[in-house]
Symmetry: C2
Subunit: 148 residues, 2 copies
């Protein structure tokens, strides 16, 4: 199940531009004790197939994501480390030259700068964790997600 | 629900020693693509009331924790930022001079170095997220958790 991958070639064309800019804030947030409930966190509907909520600490960001069946997150990469945890459904990742089906109760750890694409095989509920927080998600400059 | 707290006094006696050492590894892990399932991750039973599983990235660590009713995590602090997410049950935190009940679907963001204690009011399933990873949990030098 475990795949070492850092130096392995992906199937991306050399000209493919997937690296996102502006994914890290210049200034760190002040650390703060916060007691929150997912039910009270703003739901952001980016497309009819993609909805998310954010909880942002100083260096940790949690994103609770609902993807409807057929939703495609296009190939992209970012300097932020990512851990995707799937709570419900199955998400297919295209990463490191492979297709990886990640189901409920499973986790994918994605190193910084590793290009990845995802396709919801069913309705999916996931929590993605990033460090540092995704400034483009916080600032809503994530146009790559809003194209559908 | 939101509490600014960084400069607020806690009820700790000035002599209380709660700061943990050795909670940050000297050397960073190499980032690695990993596909894992909680069902396949080693379960570590620290006490009859406290069980955990770890998934460790480069700068992100996830800990899936089962606390049985009555389990007490003694007052402690660490330089690692922590986000506690409760999936089932209710955990009472003693933090920042207050008692905070955190139930299913709720989250507590705990700034670096903020002393906290926790008591399981019911059986609890939680996922704690740390950055950087808790070296004392990885190295099993977390004697403060193993005293009961």
């Amino acid at each position: 199940m475990k795949n070492k991958s850092v130096k392995k070639k992906t199937t991306l064309r050399p000209t493919a531009r997937v690296g996102l800019n502006g994914t890290v804030a210049r200034k760190k947030k002040t650390p703060e004790l916060k007691h929150l409930a997912w039910d009270e966190v703003e739901r952001e509907i980016l497309t009819p197939l993609f909805e998310r909520q954010l909880i942002v600490g100083q260096e940790i960001m949690l994103a609770r994501i609902v993807l409807r069946k057929g939703c495609i997150v296009p190939m992209h990469s970012h300097i932020n480390e990512q851990v995707s945890t799937i709570l419900e459904g199955t998400l297919k990742f295209f990463i490191d030259g492979k297709e990886v089906l990640v189901g409920a109760g499973e986790i994918l750890t994605i190193p910084p700068n590793m290009p990845h694409k995802a396709e919801a095989m069913t309705d999916v509920l996931a929590i993605d964790i990033f460090t540092p927080p995704r400034a483009d998600w916080i600032n809503k400059t994530d146009s790559y997600l809003r194209k559908k």
